[in-house]
Subunit: 461 residues, 2 copies
């Protein structure tokens, strides 16, 4: 009854070079979603995937949202469980471009530190990861003429832009997204050898603050000491956001944040992820956030606030004695448990406005926010997927929370009633969102084999 | 014995259009000194002036310094006093370019608010001002075949870059710069109707701080709350630089700062320059610096600290969930009285380093600093110049201090033993260092006439 798995795995091994060629073609399309100048390339990336999935035998369409289109592909299997796979074809901006060793949209295989890796923007986040699932489907279809379970694939194009337009589209297309479980491939491994299923995700609230003081740039020689300086105002706001203990100072910020149960904390402690081990690979030693917390708490069960960008005044070479008229910063919060992004928006805006002098002005732009999500530990599919992953990697798959945000997971639960298995093969040093993003060849190859196994396991679950 | 002045003034009136054409030709050369890409244009601006002064009958040369060349021109007059005139041909960068109504290096006459003004980068600071002196010389030479006094003209090309290379050049060329008094045209009028001689200048110390945390840009979802953020570090440093009373918090910063004598303070108070009057024209209302000081104190007799630029992380459109590896800021101090820029550099660097976490790093670049200068009130030339200015403008010339820095004035005193008369015709709303810089046609025309009168007055002094 069950399709044979070994021929599928063998076919994945045999076809690896072709699979890479397919991925590279997709990586060459600069589908940067946050910059309107790349909107055409986003559509191109969607259309490329539509062609690929149609050729595999999916009923596929490119569908409009309020921002970039989504790709929707169906292959039903009556009587079998049905899964909804989600990923995104859009990628982060590439600046600072001068730090890339090779062009970000000219993918290549590099060898470093004894491993082969695919280097390109989107190699790991998320085109490489998406293609592990697509290639697993391809191999099943090639060897068995069918998939072990019914599959719907939904690949969006605005994940790096807060998934703008997606919740509305999901809401409007609920009937076409029916499934027993959702699968997402946009997370990482525990380490190089140990697969991971991510069971919770932090939420995200992202803001931009623009402070305007004088109505023009001023000469600091003439006005310095008398005229308000928006960089000073902005720096004061940012400095005030954290206290000396590394805690966020917004009133009520920690409302809804729960302490993990002692047994979970003990389990985390036993993982031995010290500050040195966690921060050493990126050149740091000491945790910068709340004092007295394990690194794993700081990035999983605790909220955080980071300024993601700041600009104002003269930033070219040399000196310019100017007092800028305007300065701006992008500020984001990672949320956990029951923290409410809408409440946060109100508190944050009030906090900012309180710190702007009466004769200056401020604009607070609120980008889309998302709540944290936690998955039930008793999902039947969780055990099946853990077994499949452990078989592939030869190690017990770890089930833990993660620091990043994938807003759609909360939407799937809210709109479709679906729980999500978050399984991905990224590594901590993949440099996603940074220059020289990479995806290990092992991640791609064994990731594809992992999904082939998981699809079979879910058929039996 | 004395050359006739009236024909000179008449010639200035008659030749105004030609004078503007000459100025425009100079303004078209984009001599931005702080950006190495414009080094060729700096030299071009020097050579243009060399040609102009040679044609007038000066013995002129373009001479090398460690950065951009200076223009040196001589016309001795045995038995008469000798003046050394200083100005600069370099200009500030033009960003943000999109805020210019017309191209910054395409000078034109605009009419607004009932006045005609020359609009271009450098129109006021300092090409337009320099040409008021050059055109005054031209008219004297045209009408009388000679100048009332011996004149040396020194025009440098790095004033907007801390006069890099100039003090060394002056030191090496002391013998060629002998004079009885120095004249500088790089300051402003008291108001549209009232001429001003600037009798003190604040010093300047300019730094750049570069904070580096992780060795790469990080994903704030994964690392947020655990990894140090250089924008937070930088904001803390900037916020800590001022206390709640607007005072600079650097230890010993106010050492060497003197309170003005009560009678001077009373004189300033009587000028009626309220915060509303001073800040209203730039869209502000309340002084941002030290509490309880007059605006005129804040910009003249009190030191100040301003962040002139800041940049870090993602500054494009939309959102990017990144923790930057590096962030940097340009920070400058305006100095008064006996504040020592060298001592300040030590204190400032220590202050910065104390606030950088042990596992992060910081680079503090120190651009050239200059002490404040104050001119003696009993200079014989001061009275002569005041009389000439009052005759031209029909109002008593005000003698006051100014907020900006012209480092060379201190060097002239130290190296050449020369006191400097600072006389200029800029207005507060000239937008020097900002988009749409302008110089009133009246400033240019009556400024030229003023210098013609001053040269004659100095011959008699």
């Amino acid at each position: 009854m069950a399709d044979a798995l070994d021929p599928v795995l063998n076919d994945i091994d045999r076809d690896l070079d072709n699979a890479l060629e397919r991925l590279f073609a997709w990586l060459r399309i600069p589908s940067i979603s946050t910059d309107p100048a790349y909107a055409g390339h986003c559509r191109e990336a969607a259309q490329w995937l539509e062609g690929n999935l149609t050729a595999l035998g999916f009923e596929t369409s490119v569908e409009e949202t309020s921002l970039h289109p989504v790709v929707l592909a169906h292959r039903p299997k009556p009587g079998a469980p049905h899964v909804l796979f989600y990923g995104h074809y859009d990628v982060q901006p590439v600046d600072p471009l001068n730090l890339w060793r090779t062009s970000p949209f000219d993918p290549r295989i590099e060898e470093a530190d004894g491993t082969k890796r695919i280097v390109a923007r989107g190699a790991s986040d998320d085109k490489g990861q998406v293609m592990t699932f697509v290639e697993a489907c391809r191999a099943h279809l090639a060897m068995n003429g069918d998939l072990p379970v019914g599959v719907t694939i939904l690949i969006e194009g605005a994940e790096e832009n807060g998934s703008q337009g997606l919740p509305e589209w999901v809401e409007a297309n609920r009937a076409r997204l029916k499934a027993d479980v959702a699968l997402v491939c946009d997370t990482g491994m525990w380490d190089r050898q140990t697969p991971q299923i991510t069971t919770s995700l932090r939420g995200l609230a992202y803001y931009e603050i623009k402070v305007t003081c004088a109505d023009r740039d001023l000469h600091s020689g003439f006005f310095g000491g008398a005229a308000a300086n928006p960089i000073h105002v902005l720096s004061r706001i940012i400095a005030d956001l954290h206290d000396a203990e590394g805690r966020v100072t917004l009133p009520g910020f920690y409302d809804g944040v729960r302490e993990p149960p002692p047994e979970l904390l003990e389990q985390w402690r036993s993982l031995g992820l010290t500050a040195e081990k966690f921060l050493g690979p990126i050149g740091l030693k000491q945790p910068a956030g709340e004092r007295g917390r394990l690194p794993i708490e700081l990035i999983q069960s605790r909220p955080a606030c980071d300024v993601n960008g700041i600009i104002g005044g003269y930033t070219g070479e040399g000196t310019k004695t100017v007092i800028a008229s305007q300065a701006s910063a992008k500020v984001s919060f990672r949320l956990v448990d029951d923290q409410d992004p809408e409440q946060l928006s109100k508190t944050f805006e009030a906090f900012v406005r309180e710190r702007v002098p009466a004769d200056c002005s401020v604009e607070v732009i609120c980008y889309k926010g998302s709540r944290a999500v936690a998955l039930p530990y008793d999902m039947p599919q969780l055990e099946a997927a853990q077994g499949a992953l452990s078989a592939e990697w030869g190690r017990e798959a770890v089930a833990v929370g993660a620091g990043g945000s994938i807003p759609i997971v909360g939407d799937f639960k809210r709109i479709l009633g679906l729980d999500t298995l978050l399984i991905g093969f990224g590594l901590d040093d993949d440099r996603i969102h940074s220059p020289n993003e990479k995806y290990e060849l092992t991640s791609f190859h064994k990731g594809t084999r992992s999904w082939a196994r998981i699809l079979s396991a879910l058929a039996a679950a």
